[in-house]
């Protein structure tokens, strides 16, 4: 076969350079991964669980503030232009784009995969998703590459499957689910497979059960964490689509109560925030139990957030009042204090007053909430945004 000028030959100097470069990058990546794994997982789960005990408005304000900070950074106070990283352009990418097929993808994309160009890697994921399209056979072919692929390649392949139309086909989803439970695969790869299922419109009872068992398994590690996140994400989608929440909430509460992994428990307790379910009596009591028995203060904070969405406001206020007295942690107390307001609005003020008299550190907070409600604000998101300090007790970035 005659290659065009500049095409990679198996052992050309240029190809060798890419291979060595790729290996060096891989070694570096693995080193960094090993170094940051412990911290990154918790940070990732905080990011994934998003509100992390804070209402939507908090997230919005954070984004708003970030934008304001960016604008400020871009203001002419400092006349020096900021440093920007140069981008990479790829010669002949148009030919790649027009000619590549699922069959040629791995070979043709090798040079791009070996690069550290995030833009082109994003393109590869999206282009491969287009090539798979609604074709279950093509999705299965790409899935077949995942087992032996490098971590970076597997990331591209699984991201493409995840966002392809074909992943919604029951046969493709079933293959992904089966492979994600294959114990012969490393946990990290199984986590990737589970994450590729988070775009599903729903999970059937059997799959939900299997993922729950996996997450409860003390040795499931990253895979159990990904299974929990996928249940939570599909819950949010299915809830929006059909209003269906109960089965997912039941499983997440099981994981949140029974997993021996702190991170997985926290994720399971907090993921339902994305669907904002209104708790029935059973879910309310299960969250109440978590609030009083969970060892992690962040987990109790998330349970307090979840409890604030129940129609039985009197019961919620009773639970908060009792748990506040028993919990010595200031951040867990701050969660119960503010989520009492979310649960019952200005009707919570008497209970909040009792909390503030039991712990004087909350007296200023009580006065502020009283003033805000007195001004006529009724929406808790706006109450929250009206607070002069949304983190008065230094809890937002506190390690557990």
């Amino acid at each position: 076969m005659h290659a065009r000028p500049g095409t990679f030959h198996p052992f050309s100097g240029q190809r060798l350079g890419w291979i060595l470069g790729g290996l060096a990058a891989l070694v570096l990546l693995l080193g960094l991964l090993a170094h940051f794994l412990g911290a990154s997982r918790r940070q990732a789960e905080r990011a994934q669980a998003a509100p992390s005990g804070w209402p939507d408005a908090r997230r919005k304000l954070a984004a708003s503030s970030q934008r304001a900070a960016e604008t400020e950074q871009a203001s002419p106070k400092d006349s020096r232009p900021p440093d920007f990283e140069a981008t990479t352009c790829w010669r002949s990418l148009d030919e790649f784009n027009e000619g590549v097929t699922v069959e040629t993808f791995r070979k043709w994309a090798a040079a791009l995969m070996a690069s550290e160009d995030e833009h082109v890697l994003t393109y590869l994921k999206e282009r491969l998703a287009e090539l798979i399209g609604p074709d279950g056979g093509r999705a299965a072919e790409v899935l077949g590459w995942v087992r032996e692929a490098s971590p970076k390649e597997a990331g591209v392949f699984l991201s493409a499957i995840r966002s392809s139309q074909a992943v919604q086909q029951p046969a493709v989803a079933a293959k992904l689910a089966a492979m994600s439970l294959d114990k012969s695969l490393p946990l990290e790869r199984r986590a990737g497979l589970l994450a590729a299922l988070d775009t599903q419109k729903q999970l059937d009872a059997a799959t939900l059960g299997r993922f729950t068992e996996l997450a409860r398994d003390a040795s499931s590690g990253e895979a159990g964490w990904a299974a929990t996140r996928t249940i939570g994400r599909v819950m949010a989608t299915d809830s929006q689509r059909s209003g269906s929440q109960a089965a997912y909430l039941d499983k997440l509460l099981t994981i949140g109560s029974e997993s021996s992994d702190d991170d997985i428990r926290y994720l399971a307790i907090s993921m339902p925030m994305h669907a904002d379910p209104i708790l029935d009596r059973s879910a309310l009591e299960r969250y109440a139990k978590i609030l009083t028995t969970e060892g992690s203060a962040n987990g109790r904070d998330a349970a307090a957030h979840m409890l604030s969405l129940s129609q039985d406001k009197a019961r919620v206020l009773e639970i908060f009042a009792s748990a506040f007295r028993a919990d010595g942690d200031i951040c867990a107390r701050w969660a119960m204090f503010r989520f009492a307001a979310r649960a019952a609005g200005k009707d919570a003020l008497p209970v909040m007053a009792v909390m503030a008299s039991a712990d004087p550190r909350f007296q200023d907070d009580h006065r502020i909430f009283e003033q805000i409600y007195g001004s006529g604000v009724v929406d808790f998101d706006r109450v929250w945004l009206s607070l002069p300090d949304q983190d008065p007790h230094g809890c937002l970035h506190r390690p557990d």
Binding site: H2, R4, P5, G6, T7, F8, P55, D56, A57, K60, L61, S64, R67, E70, T71, Q73, A74, P81, P82, F84, A86, T87, T88, C89, W90, R91, S92, L93, D94, E95, F96, G99, T104, K107, W108, A111, L112, S115, D117, H119, V120, Y123, E126, R127, A129, E130, G243, D276, I278, L309, A343, A344, G345, S375, G376, V378, D379, F380, D381, R382
Partner: protein, 338 residues
């Protein structure tokens, strides 16, 4: 045609088909000679022009993002010149987005000014509309003075619509409704277009958050409640429902007064929504009192009362539950189990 020629012709066609489909890997799958290089304005534009014909949305998106991400490190003069000369709306939109990105990231404060100047002098409405789209979900409104008030009066309806969409999306996705000046600017632009293009006014008011609106903007919305256009009155009612607590008492009274005078059921539904949002559970007595005004809307009022009684903490959740209830009520009795 002789049989041999027919066979040859058929084989040639089959070969062409196979090649087109990439099935003959050995022949068709010669990998392109990909190589990394520095980005230039000329190179990126050449790729974007070629990419316009591509069926791959992923590729077009990649090129669009690459130009914007490259913008801060590209030569400003070359970028400005390319934008000034460009006549293809899609390419002009991407160049405008690149210039705006330079401004937003602090690389070049004049980028946005260049875009605004072109907008005001460009004779081609398709190109103006494209350049307006490039300003979407940016902070352009903060530093372009009264540009949006001019754009909502543009001679071309597509430009006015794009400007309205920008004001809505900036309010929602850039400021999250929390930036008072941006909200006020959007309301004032909407109000100024009420007589010339009521659809634009309704598009803006019906879709922005007014939680940070100032007294002037609230007053403008109250005046729009008396517009002779149904869509403007409806949108103003919805928008007034979101005003801050300091404006809620007068907004509530205006909505209740109009409900009694109004005859259009669409506007009345919007008024009920506004009243519900202003008061949450506290709005229930007002809603119950209004039940007698129009018996045709008593089911709607009941649905609001039923939703508000749940005591949900935020408007987002109340709207969700109301929508669910409406869907349930719309189902035939056999499906809903009634």
């Amino acid at each position: 045609m002789r049989p041999q020629r027919r066979t040859l012709c058929a084989l040639t066609m089959l070969l062409a088909l196979e090649l087109a489909q990439g099935r003959l890997a050995g022949v068709a799958a010669a990998a392109p000679a990909l190589s990394a290089e520095s980005c230039s304005v000329e190179g990126l534009l050449a790729d974007i022009r070629k990419g316009l014909g591509s069926r791959s949305e992923a590729y077009r998106r990649y090129l669009r993002n690459l130009l914007r991400e490259s913008a801060p490190t590209l030569p400003a003069a070359a970028l400005r010149l390319a934008f000034a000369r460009e006549t293809h709306p899609v390419v002009a939109e991407q160049l405008a987005a690149a210039l705006i990105a330079r401004s937003e990231r602090g690389a070049d404060s004049s980028g946005l000014r260049t875009v605004a100047e072109r907008l005001l002098s460009e004779p081609d409405p398709a190109l103006r509309a494209a350049v307006v789209r490039a300003m979407r979900r940016t902070s352009a409104a903060e530093s372009t003075g009264d540009l949006y008030e001019k754009l909502v009066h543009d001679a071309a309806p597509e430009v006015r619509r794009e400007a309205a969409t920008n004001l809505v999306e900036d309010n929602r996705f850039v400021y999250f409704g929390h930036h008072g000046p941006a909200t006020d600017a959007a309301v004032m632009a909407a109000a100024s277009a009420a007589s010339s293009d009521p659809q634009v006014t309704a598009q803006i008011l019906g879709n922005i958050s007014t939680e940070a609106a100032g007294p002037g903007a609230a007053e403008a919305m109250r005046k729009l409640l008396r517009s002779d256009q149904v869509e403007v009155r409806s949108a103003a009612a919805v928008a007034l429902g979101g005003v801050p607590a300091s404006e809620s008492a007068s907004a509530r009274q205006s909505l209740i007064d109009l409900y009694r005078d109004e005859s259009d059921p669409r506007v009345r539904r919007a008024l009920l929504q506004g009243i519900a949002q202003l008061g949450f559970a506290g709005a229930i007595p007002d809603l119950v009192q209004l039940r007698e005004v129009d018996p045709g809307l008593s089911r709607e009022i009941d649905a609001w009362v039923q939703t508000l009684r749940k005591g949900l903490p935020s408007w987002e959740l109340i709207l969700r539950e109301k929508q669910r209830l409406d869907e349930l009520n719309a189902q035939p009795a056999s499906q809903s189990g009634r």
